[in-house]
C-alpha cells in the first residue's frame, strides 16, 4: 500500500510507515496488522480538573464505573465452583464467583445492615454474613435468615443480592453494573476478531504485579497509551524503535497502537547500524558483550524475530510473523484495560485506588501461551508506592523501563495540580489513543 494518503492523515513522521515496514518482512504479518483505521475525533484538549479534582472523580463514580464493561479477573483465577475474587473500583465492591451456572457477580454488601459479605478472595459455597448470619446461595438467591420470624416484610424471592452483568472474552471476565448495558460482545466490537489468531483464552497468567501509584488513574494510564514519550523517557531504546512512526488506530470502543522495533527512531540524526539497533532492543548494558552478533546481511529485525520464532511456532502450531515477534502491539478496551498481543505478554489495567482521586493501582499481567497442562496462574504481587518496579523480578527487563516511566508520573500529578493553564492538549496522531479515551469518557460523563 502506498503512502500517497499521508497528506490526508497529515500526521506521519518522516520515517517509514508501519505498513511499508511490514511489507518487507520475511515472514509476513497477519491480516489484523494490515488494518489501518486512523480517526479524527474532536477531543484534543481536556480540562486539567479532570485529573486533579474530587468532583470529577465523583462524576466518574456516578456516570462511568457503574455503567461500563470493565475487566474484573481471568477465568483461570476462579476455576472451580465457589472460587471467587473481590473486584473493587472506587467505593464499589463486587464478588465475582463461579457457580454451577457460570460466573456471577454480586454486590458485596449484606442487605440487612450493610456489612461487606466477603473480605477477601477465596472459595465458598454460600455467602454468610459474619455479623448476623444472613445467608445467600452463591447464585445470589436468599438461603437463610436467622430469626426469620423477625423479618415478616421480607419476601424471599425479592431479597436476592443485587447483581452485575458478567461477560467473558479471551479468558477475561468482565462485569457491568448496568443491567441495561449492551452485551459485552457488542461493546468489544472488533476485538474478538482481532485476537482470533492470538487466543488469549489459551494463555495463562505468568506474572501479575500491582503497584500503587501517586497519580490519578488516568494520568498513569495515559503514560502507557503512546510511544511519543520514548524520546525523553526511554532514550536508550531509540536506535531500535520506530517510536515516531508508530501506527495508531481506532475501532468503536477499541484503540490500538503498533510501535515497530528493529527500525530506528526518526528522531535520530544518524542511521544506527543493525548491531546498534539490536543492542538497543535487547537493552545491552554498555560494558556487556552483545547478546547476539548480527550476521552479515541480516537485519536486527529479522534476527530478533528468528531468535524467538522456534518457541513461538511450537506454542502456536503456526509460523509466527516477524511483526508479531518483534513489534509492540497494544490495544485498549475503554476505559482501563490494555491487552497487548501475546508475544509481548503485557496486559495492563489501571484503576483508582480505593476512593482516592490522587492515587491509583497499576497492574501488569504477563499472559503467556503454554503447551500441555495449564500452569497455575501467578498470584498478585503487590508493590507499595515506595518500592521500585525492579522489586518484581518476574518482570525482567521491563521493570527498568517502568522505573523510567515512574520518574515522570508523580511529577505529572504535581504539575497538573500546580497548573495555571486550564487544559491539557493532545497531539493529533501520536496521542490518538488518549484522545479517543477522553472522547468516550466525555460521552459517559455527559449522559443524564
Amino acid at each position: 500500500m502506498g503512502s500517497e494518503e499521508r497528506l490526508d492523515i497529515s500526521a506521519h513522521s518522516a520515517g517509514i510507515s508501519y505498513q511499508d515496514l511490514i511489507a518487507s518482512d520475511r515472514v509476513q504479518a497477519p491480516d489484523v496488522l494490515k488494518m489501518v483505521s486512523p480517526i479524527d475525533l474532536p477531543t484534543t484538549k481536556v480540562p486539567v480538573s479532570q485529573f486533579t479534582t474530587r468532583e470529577f472523580h465523583d462524576l466518574e463514580m456516578a456516570k462511568l464505573w457503574p455503567k461500563v464493561w470493565q475487566m474484573a479477573c481471568r477465568e483461570e483465577e476462579i476455576p472451580r465452583e465457589g472460587d471467587h475474587i473481590i473486584y473493587e473500583i472506587g467505593k464499589y465492591s463486587i464478588i465475582v464467583i463461579r457457580t454451577a451456572e457460570g460466573i456471577k457477580a454480586h454486590h458485596n454488601s449484606c442487605l440487612h445492615r450493610g456489612r461487606r459479605l466477603r473480605d477477601r478472595d477465596g472459595r465458598v459455597f454460600q455467602f454468610t454474613c459474619p455479623f448476623h448470619g444472613f445467608t445467600w446461595n452463591i447464585d445470589g438467591s436468599l438461603k437463610h435468615i436467622p430469626s426469620r420470624w423477625d423479618f415478616p416484610d421480607i419476601v424471599d424471592e425479592e431479597f436476592g443480592l443485587p447483581s452485575a452483568k458478567v461477560g467473558t472474552w479471551g479468558g477475561w471476565v468482565f462485569i457491568n453494573m448496568d443491567e441495561n448495558a449492551e452485551p459485552l460482545q457488542d461493546f468489544l466490537g472488533v476485538l474478538p476478531d482481532h485476537f482470533k489468531i492470538w487466543q488469549p483464552e489459551n494463555c495463562y497468567i505468568q506474572a501479575h504485579v500491582a503497584k500503587i501509584m501517586a497519580t490519578n488513574w488516568k494520568v498513569v494510564q495515559e503514560a502507557f497509551m503512546e510511544a511519543y514519550h520514548v524520546i525523553m523517557t526511554h532514550p536508550q531504546m531509540l536506535p531500535g524503535i520506530g517510536d515516531e512512526n508508530s501506527q495508531y488506530d481506532v475501532w468503536g470502543n477499541i484503540s490500538r497502537a503498533v510501535t515497530p522495533n528493529g527500525t530506528p527512531s526518526p528522531h535520530l540524526s544518524y542511521n544506527p547500524d543493525e548491531q546498534a539497533m539490536f543492542d538497543a532492543m535487547s537493552d545491552r548494558r554498555m560494558d556487556a558483550p552483545p547478546i547476539v552478533e548480527i550476521p552479515e546481511g541480516m537485519t536486527a529485525r529479522g534476527t530478533s524475530a528468528a531468535g524467538s520464532r522456534q518457541t513461538a511456532n511450537d506454542l502456536t502450531g503456526r509460523e509466527v510473523s516477524d511483526a508479531e515477534l518483534v513489534d509492540s502491539i497494544y490495544y485498549t478496551v475503554f476505559p482501563n484495560f490494555h491487552p497487548w498481543s501475546p508475544f509481548n505478554r503485557i496486559q495492563y489495567r489501571f484503576r483508582p485506588y480505593q476512593d482516592d482521586h490522587r492515587k491509583s493501582v497499576m497492574e501488569v499481567y504477563f499472559l503467556a501461551p503454554f503447551k500441555g497442562e495449564r500452569p497455575a496462574p501467578a498470584k498478585t504481587h503487590w508493590l507499595t508506592e515506595q518500592q521500585d518496579w525492579t522489586d518484581a523480578e518476574e518482570l525482567g527487563m521491563l521493570a527498568r523501563v517502568f522505573n523510567q516511566d515512574s520518574m515522570n508520573l508523580p511529577n505529572v500529578q504535581i504539575g497538573l495540580e500546580a497548573a495555571q493553564n486550564e487544559e491539557v492538549i493532545f497531539s493529533r496522531y501520536q496521542e490518538t489513543k488518549i484522545r479517543h479515551f477522553h472522547h468516550l469518557l466525555n460521552e459517559y460523563i455527559s449522559r443524564a
Binding site: 500500500m1 502506498g2 494518503e5 490526508d8 492523515i9 505498513q19 511499508d20 488494518m35 472488533v190
Partner: protein, 249 residues
C-alpha cells in the same frame, strides 16, 4: 484573471497541509473566493482568514450538512462556480477482516457523501461550473487491504462520468484527479533517504514523489473554464506515470 470573483467550495481542507488546503490556496491566489470546508472548525477558520475566504464546517457523511454548505456558499457569495471534494481519510482492512460495521463509515464518507456532494454542487451552479473529486492511484492499481477504500473511489470515478453526461447540457463539467504518491514538504532534510521513497521511485517514470502543488495546479487548470472548457468526464492521473504500471526492469 478568468477565475476572478468566482466562488470555489473545497471540502477536505481542515488539515494543515493536505490537498484541500493546497488547492484552496492555489485557487485563492488566482482570484477565487474560496469557501473552505471540513470537519474541524479551528483550522478552517485559520485558513479562511489567511485566504480572505469563508469557513463552513461540514461532515460529508451528513446530507443535511452538505446541502447547507452549498446554500451558505451561494447565499454569502452570490454564486457557486467550482466545487472540489477532497474529503475522506484512509482506512485499510483485508477482506478477511471485513464486517458491515467496518465498511459503512467509508461508504458514508467516500461514496454516498461524494455522490451527494456532486448533487448539491450542481444544484447551485446556475451559470455552469466545474466539479472535481480527488481520487487515488489505489483506485487504478489494486493493492492489498484497500478493497473498501479503493472501490469507493473507483465507484465515484465512474459516477463522475455519469454526472458529466447528466450535466453536460448545463455546462457543468465533472472530472476526477487521481493522486499518486504525494509527499508532504519535508522540513527536515535529514530524511532524504526515506525507505518508502526508495521502494516506490523505481515504479515512477518521472522518478520522484509528487508534491501537493502538482495536485493544486491540476485542480486550477480543471477549474478554469478558459483553460479546460472541453474537458469533462475525465480521470486525470497525477502520478508521475506510476498509474500505467510497467514491464519489470
Amino acid at each position: 484573471m478568468s477565475l476572478e470573483n468566482k466562488t470555489a467550495v473545497i471540502i477536505g481542507a481542515s488539515g494543515t497541509n493536505n490537498f484541500g488546503v493546497a488547492i484552496a490556496r492555489k485557487l485563492a491566489e488566482n482570484g477565487c473566493k474560496v469557501v473552505v470546508s471540513g470537519r474541524r472548525s479551528e483550522p478552517l477558520k485559520n485558513l479562511a482568514a489567511e485566504l480572505k475566504g469563508l469557513a463552513v464546517t461540514c461532515d460529508i457523511s451528513d446530507e443535511a450538512q452538505i446541502k447547507s454548505l452549498f446554500e451558505t456558499a451561494h447565499t454569502e457569495t452570490g454564486r457557486v462556480d467550482i466545487a472540489i471534494n477532497s474529503a475522506g481519510g484512509l482506512a485499510a482492512a483485508p477482506i478477511s477482516m471485513l464486517t458491515k460495521e467496518l465498511i459503512q463509515p467509508t461508504l458514508d464518507t467516500s461514496f454516498t457523501g461524494a455522490l451527494l456532494f456532486m448533487r448539491y454542487a450542481a444544484e447551485h451552479m446556475d451559470k455552469g461550473g466545474s466539479v472535481m473529486t480527488i481520487s487515488s492511484l489505489t483506485a487504478r492499481l489494486p493493492g492489498p487491504a484497500l478493497a473498501v477504500y479503493a472501490a469507493a473511489r473507483s465507484g465515484i470515478d465512474f459516477a463522475i462520468r455519469v454526472a458529466a453526461v447528466e450535466y453536460g447540457a448545463q455546462n457543468i463539467r465533472f472530472n476526477s484527479i487521481a493522486a499518486g504518491l504525494i509527499q508532504t514538504d519535508m522540513t527536515d532534510a535529514m530524511f532524504q533517504d526515506d525507505a518508502t521513497e526508495k521502494r516506490f521511485i523505481p515504479h515512477i517514470p518521472l522518478a520522484r514523489m509528487g508534491h501537493p502543488n502538482d495536485i493544486a495546479e491540476t485542480a486550477l487548470w480543471l477549474a478554469d473554464d478558459e483553460k479546460s472548457p472541453f474537458i469533462t468526464g475525465q480521470l486525470i492521473d497525477v502520478s508521475g506515470g506510476q498509474h500505467m504500471g510497467r514491464l519489470p526492469h
